[in-house]
């Protein structure tokens, strides 16, 4: 399926999907979705016989500081059986940075969403275990935000006592 045909199909399948064509997408298939369409639209894309995006290749975000809405969560979908790709971009406002989770749609979303929370401070509503993943729990701020200075120092944290502050998540409940 060509990129145009795929975008046409997706626009017909997913209500509210705006295809993003032209020079900026460099010929790749990109759509913009409202976040309220989220888990349902992704499920449709995964299950419909003409799209069949069984794999969430990657999930990330970008911070467009100074623009409204400020953030964009970006899903890279790939269909192993039909061999095509689609990028889904979801704008997220700065004052309410929450997106419904896709962890029930693709298992790879679990860790990827934790990383986006860690790096950008975007929350995923309904995520089973939304903790930091690359940074440590005491880390202050979200480093990939554009307003996080690259040379910012972090305070020292006390050594963790495994008895009073157990490491196992079901007990610790650490953020």
């Amino acid at each position: 399926m060509t990129v145009e045909a795929l975008l046409d199909r997706v626009a017909a399948l997913v209500p509210g999907a705006t295809p993003l064509g032209g020079e900026a997408a460099r010929g790749q298939a990109v759509i913009v979705l409202e976040r309220r369409a989220l888990p349902a639209a992704l499920e449709t894309l995964r299950d419909h016989p003409e799209t069949r995006f069984e794999m969430l290749s990657d999930l990330t975000a970008a911070d467009y500081l100074g623009r409204t809405p400020r953030f964009e969560v970006v899903y890279q979908l790939y269909s192993v059986s039909l061999n095509h790709r689609l990028r889904v971009k979801v704008p997220v406002p700065e004052d309410d940075p929450v997106v419904p989770t896709a962890a029930a749609v693709w298992k790879s979303a679990n860790w990827a969403e934790r990383e986006v929370w860690d790096m950008f401070g975007i929350r995923f509503a309904g995520h089973p275990d939304l903790r930091r993943i690359l940074m440590y729990p005491e880390f202050e701020g979200h480093p990939l935000r554009k307003d996080y200075p690259v040379d910012k120092r972090q305070p020292l944290v006390p050594e963790r006592d495994p008895i009073t502050r157990p490491w196992y998540p079901h007990r610790s409940g650490a953020a």
Partner: protein, 395 residues
């Protein structure tokens, strides 16, 4: 090692890592064990986080190439090529044919070193120390080739936006033929030592299994996915460079366990060597880089010999390559699977956003499910076959 307060029933809680002698990579497993059986495992990563994506936003596009090397340092040229292809797609340039062939050759040598590191270490950790050292010996022959090509052995920074740093040495074909002969000899030895070795076989078969549907849902790619029988290889699915002109096959497994992952990697190495030989045989003459002054540095003679060359050099180094605004996601087949770069340019000379899709990050996300119900000692071979490279997983 310490048990936590109030461990329920017979379940014992143990932390393994972050620095454990049997695991090559800084990673922590928070285990819940019933005897030696793993009830649950939670994986903590991030010990090698170096802010790759943040650092890339600070410099120009060419400044990112050395960082890209250091993602998966077992296969630096593949990372270099993947990043270069993504930036070139964003800039809308196509590199000359000779350069494409050179990148294929370099990339496949890197894939060989990656698989040799992975399998050699995996064998080593299961007690087959001699096989491990043999594979490192094979890797040494390949590192000599990499050194002849790039001048460095590990962090090579071989690619540039629009080309490669320097041409192949004149005697590359003879050097490669000699090196691959040695590699083939060693691999045949290792195959005889490992593939049907009772101990090795019993430790690998049926361990760390993941079903096909789960593997896809977890975003596993590369040898991990192919071991389940899905022939997904970016080189075949979306051929880039000159892979569509080269004859090679994509080995797959059936059961998706550690043994199949091992065998897929072993078979892939032979395919990589075939690719290198074909690429060298068909290597065309010609330039190794574009000459577009917006993107590629002028030759040193021009920089020191003409005012235009000097200005061009100055503008590129200080201001960077001004790539038109836009975004791309470009996937290539890295050593461990789909290595993707999502790049956003705002039209200035600096990357606005660089995102790497690290294949071993998603592999580690699935490790909990792979290990549940297995024995404590099965962590090491499973972890070895995922081939987590800290720099890539934690970017």
């Amino acid at each position: 090692m310490a048990g936590a307060e109030g461990a329920a029933g017979d379940v014992m809680e143990i932390q393994m890592g972050p620095s454990h002698p049997a695991s090559h990579g800084t990673i922590k497993f928070n285990l819940r064990l019933d005897g030696e059986t793993i009830v649950d495992v939670e994986v903590e990563i991030g010990y090698l986080h170096r802010g790759f994506e943040k650092m890339c936003e600070q410099g120009t596009w060419n400044h990112c190439f050395p960082y890209a090397d250091r993602l998966n340092y077992a296969s630096p040229i593949l990372n270099n090529v993947g990043f270069a292809l993504a930036v070139e797609k964003l800039a809308g340039v196509t590199v000359p044919e000779r350069c494409q062939y050179i990148r294929v050759i370099g990339g496949e040598i890197s894939r060989l070193t990656d698989h040799l590191t992975c399998l050699g270490m995996a064998a080593n950790e299961l007690g087959a120390i001699s096989a491990g050292f043999y594979m490192l010996e094979a890797r040494e022959f390949l590192y000599d080739l990499v050194e002849a090509m790039t001048g460095a052995r590990l962090t090579v920074t071989y690619c540039r936006l629009g080309g490669v740093m320097k041409d192949l040495p004149a005697d590359m074909e003879e050097r490669t033929a000699a090196a691959l002969k040695q590699v083939r000899r060693i691999l045949a030895d290792c195959d005889r030592l490992l593939s049907r070795n009772r101990i090795f076989y019993d430790r690998m078969v049926g361990i760390g299994k993941l079903s096909r549907a789960d593997s896809i849902s977890y975003g596993l790619t590369g040898p991990l996915l192919r071991a389940t029988g899905v022939p997904y290889d970016v080189r075949k699915a979306e051929p880039y460079l000159v892979y569509d002109r080269i004859d090679f096959s994509v080995p797959t497994g059936t059961s998706g366990d550690n043994y199949d992952r091992f065998m897929v990697r072993m078979a892939e190495m032979e395919q990589s060597m075939r690719i290198i030989e074909q690429a060298l045989a068909n290597l065309p003459e010609g330039p190794i880089a574009i000459t577009d002054p917006r993107y590629f540095l002028p030759p040193k003679q021009e920089v020191y010999g003409s005012i235009e060359g000097l200005m061009n050099h100055f503008k590129l180094v200080i201001e960077g390559q001004k790539i038109p605004p836009g975004e791309v996601y470009v996937a290539t087949e890295g050593g461990n699977g789909e290595l993707g770069f999502y790049l956003v340019s705002d039209g200035s000379g600096r990357p606005y956003r660089v995102r790497v899709r690290p294949p071993s990050f998603y592999g580690m996300g699935a490790v909990g499910e792979m290990l549940r119900g297995h024995m404590l000692a099965d962590i090491i071979p499973t972890f070895g076959q995922i081939n987590m490279i800290g720099g890539e997983c934690d970017h």
